[in-house]
């Protein structure tokens, strides 16, 4: 039907999203983490703005009509809040940046000697504010990238890609994650119900009074869900030989100790020689332990997402943006971090901007949701 009315241009247009060709959620996460890494390498507001625009464009073309895809807007709001808080702090608590352009001078709170280094009120300089703005914008961009991943990839689908041994813990996490939205819905419903009793449905007191019934309801629902999951076979496990069980425990524990020791070795000055091999050995042992542990689990997977060419391309576009910005940072750090003292207007460095535009690739590669 839709093929007839809207013929897709071969190659140019992304195909229609279905379960069959759904992009692996891991690819979306790698893409957005790539963009986030890129964001962490720069404070140039123009580049950060470009990164936000790229995620926004991809969301606009690929977001699905599902409840979890609303998280992008939520994350954007959170990012704005973070930015605002960062600026408010810079105004009231001062800024370590020395500046000459005083905008206003707030009355300064006299503090005792032992509170040296802390300042409340005082001079607000343009330099300090601009620095705070750049810094806040970087944090905001990171948050928006995470929000994009949340909106594009269903967290429950990502769960399917976990190794069998971790699956049950993963389900617990996902169920816990759905607890929060349900709780919010309950609070809204019960606050509305207060109106029916003739009490004001707004204000903090209303919120406190519904607290107990809301928690009660959420707990009851969790118990009901746990019962349903139990009755549907959650947690069934296969019999495994005691030898296998013991080997699993040894491998997992030994692996974790190895990872810890290896990381310590890498971070301390004198451990440079043994750090890396121990870390790798530990990692290998832990992975083997997980794999062996998976034998206890009977679970099979229904239509797991396939990591195909599209997934490679999407993940590569994110990783590419990150790699190019890291490389460019080594080559010309100044362009990525526009000066604050003295104040200069930031310029858009051409090559990093082009690299960031690489992040738009998924909007052509990934299959689209039919509108």
């Amino acid at each position: 039907m839709s093929e007839v009315s809207r013929p897709a241009a071969p190659g140019a247009q992304a195909s229609r999203a279905q379960r069959r060709n759904a992009l692996h959620p891991g690819a979306w996460w790698l893409w957005s983490l790539g963009l986030a890494t890129a964001a962490s390498r720069t404070t140039n507001p123009l580049l950060l703005g470009l990164l936000i625009a790229v995620t926004g464009y991809v969301i606009a073309t690929h977001r699905m009509q599902s409840p979890w895809s609303r998280s992008y807007t939520a994350f954007v709001k959170l990012a704005l809040a973070v930015l605002a808080i960062r600026l408010v702090f810079a105004v009231f608590l001062g800024s370590p940046i020395p500046g000459t352009h005083t905008l206003v001078t707030l009355p300064e709170l006299p503090l005792p000697d032992w509170a040296q280094g802390i300042r409340i009120g005082g001079r607000v300089t343009a330099e300090g504010l601009v620095f705070a703005l750049y810094d806040g914008l970087k944090l905001a961009t990171l948050l928006i990238c995470v929000g994009a991943a949340n909106a594009l990839a269903n967290p429950a689908r990502l769960l399917k890609s976990l190794p069998g041994a971790l699956y049950e813990a993963g389900v617990a996490v996902v169920v816990a994650l759905t607890f929060a939205p349900n709780l919010i819905a309950d609070v809204q419903r019960l606050r509305a119900a207060r109106r029916l009793r003739g009490r004001p449905d707004k204000g903090i007191r209303g919120l406190l009074q519904v607290g107990l019934p809301v928690l009660e309801g959420a707990l009851e629902r969790s118990v009901a869900l746990a019962a349903a999951m139990d009755a549907r076979g959650y947690g069934r496990s296969a019999e495994v030989a005691p030898a296998v069980r013991r080997t699993t425990a040894v491998l997992t524990l030994g692996g974790l100790v190895g990872v810890c020791a290896g990381t310590y070795g890498l971070l301390t000055a004198e451990g440079g020689t043994y750090g890396l091999p121990v870390l790798l050995a530990g990692l290998g042992a832990a992975l083997a332990g997980l794999r062996l542990g998976g034998r206890r689990s009977l679970r099979t997977r229904y239509r797991p997402d396939v990591w195909g060419v599209r997934a490679w391309l999407v993940a590569a576009s994110g990783a590419g943006v990150a790699a190019l910005l890291i490389l460019y940072a080594a080559y010309d750090s100044a362009a990525l971090h526009p000066g604050v003292v003295p104040l200069t207007s930031p310029t858009l460095p051409l090559w990093p901007a082009a690299a960031i535009l690489l992040g738009l690739a998924p909007s052509f590669i990934a299959p689209r949701e039919p509108s």
Partner: protein, 582 residues
Amino acid sequence: MIRFEDVSVTYDGATEPTVRGLELTVPEGELVLLVGPSGVGKSTILGAVSGLVPHFTGGTLRGRVTVAGRDTRTHKPRELADVVGTVGQDPLAHFVTDTVEDELAYGMESLGLAPDVMRRRVEETLDLLGLADLRDRPIATLSGGQQQRVAIGSVLTPHPRVLVLDEPTSALDPAAAEEVLAVLQRLVHDLGTTVLMAEHRLERVIQYADQVALLPAPGAPLVLGPPSEVMAVSPVYPPVVALGRFAGWSPLPLTVRDARRRAGALRERLEGMKGVAYEDESAGLTPAAPAPRPAPPRSRLFRKRDTPTAPAGTAVAAVDHLTVRRGRIEALHDVTLTVAPGETIALMGRNGAGKSTLLSALVGLVEPASGSVRVGGAVPHRTAPPELVRRVGLVPQEPRDLLYADTVAAECTAADRDADAEPGTCRALVSELLPGIADDTHPRDLSEGQRLTLALALVLTARPPLLLLDEPTRGLDYAAKSRLVTVLRDLATTGHAIILATHDVELAAELAHRVVILADGEPVADGPTVEVVMASPSFAPQVAKILAPQKWLTVSQVRAAVGATEREPEGRETTADREAKA
């Protein structure tokens, strides 16, 4: 297939066992219906089959329960998952994943079935339950009937030999309920699945049962037998059985079709009395008693908008070309409705048709996108809550939402304060509507029906002239329902206007003077109950279907009419004879 041998269940902290000395055998491939009033332990019995009682709920189970030869004592629920599928009352509490296809596969994944088997069974189940178009949809966006079908589908895919259902249709509209029941019947007939089901709305399910297991009272022994025999002695029965018992038909008819075939004589006898029933109905439309609290003079402005069905002058509520949007969807579109004092209106329509939204608009929980709502002269969403409760009261679908305190007495004190009423007003109402409830009872310990009545009393404390009830009979047994009917009738005769949003056609037939049917947010029918429900097979009560084309809606109407003639000097036969001659 399912065997209970001398089973008693005592929950922790309870002094009496909930179920005592139960003996029950359900043979393979049968659909057994578990009936009885609230609180006799139906859910406990269902839970014992899947092993959730006592493994999950706690308590002590004496005796032995075996399912397909497996003892639930030694098998945990998860180890019974491949033979027993359980669907509860609330499908939302059942879902683990968030899309239809994943949900259908979840149980099979847990059991470790091979991927190709899973794929085949998911496709089969999608077809069997008519869910193929919804396969990629997030479950949260489905309607109640669709969700219930997904819940049933999700336990069907592992091919369980036993299906346990606790009130599978209580939250569904009549059409969706038939959809679900048709699926069950298909399973029993085609796949030989054994089904054990509890349901309060017997009129929907009794015809599908092979056997009925009746628990007449708490602690009483279980009666198992063919439906028509058990229904003859059961304290709970659907209207078709009530009519059959009244007319003395034997064996009792269980379906409308059977009853129609026997109803010839009764129809003849009722022939001349049609008018009587009608006059009774229309008399109810113009109640003599005034509203308990005179409506503010401002509402006189709305007199000109009154429809002919509201002759009493001042309307309690007027909804004028109301449109409400929820997100991008128009939940209500161009709804116009006037409510007269003393009038009872039943709001019907499928799940998601906008019934609850209309009620929410009347109490100001949602803002109109266009059009206007006036309740007692005030605009609900701009009126302060303490003002509003004196004009309109709503008992929500989940009455528990209205209860915050931990004792009945505390609830009552709070209600008096909220409504600015004399201390003791609410408690007096509670004692009147719900005799024998102690002050220190926790609202959570009340039964479904008691909780509803308590919420009703809280709302009535402010004496609102307009009372709204959202799905009031969900989870109520026939006794609780008839108590509710009596209470609401009394309220209507004292001048309260009542709007019920309900799927329960029998309740609408008992109570409503007027029925409004909503579809997709628009009113598609609005008129006197008799005319609206008689015109639609899915909204017609059983008695109407049996006695059509005569216009009778409930057994009590028939009983009253026949009773009236019997009080005349001629006997029953002579009346019938005379009418036959005429």
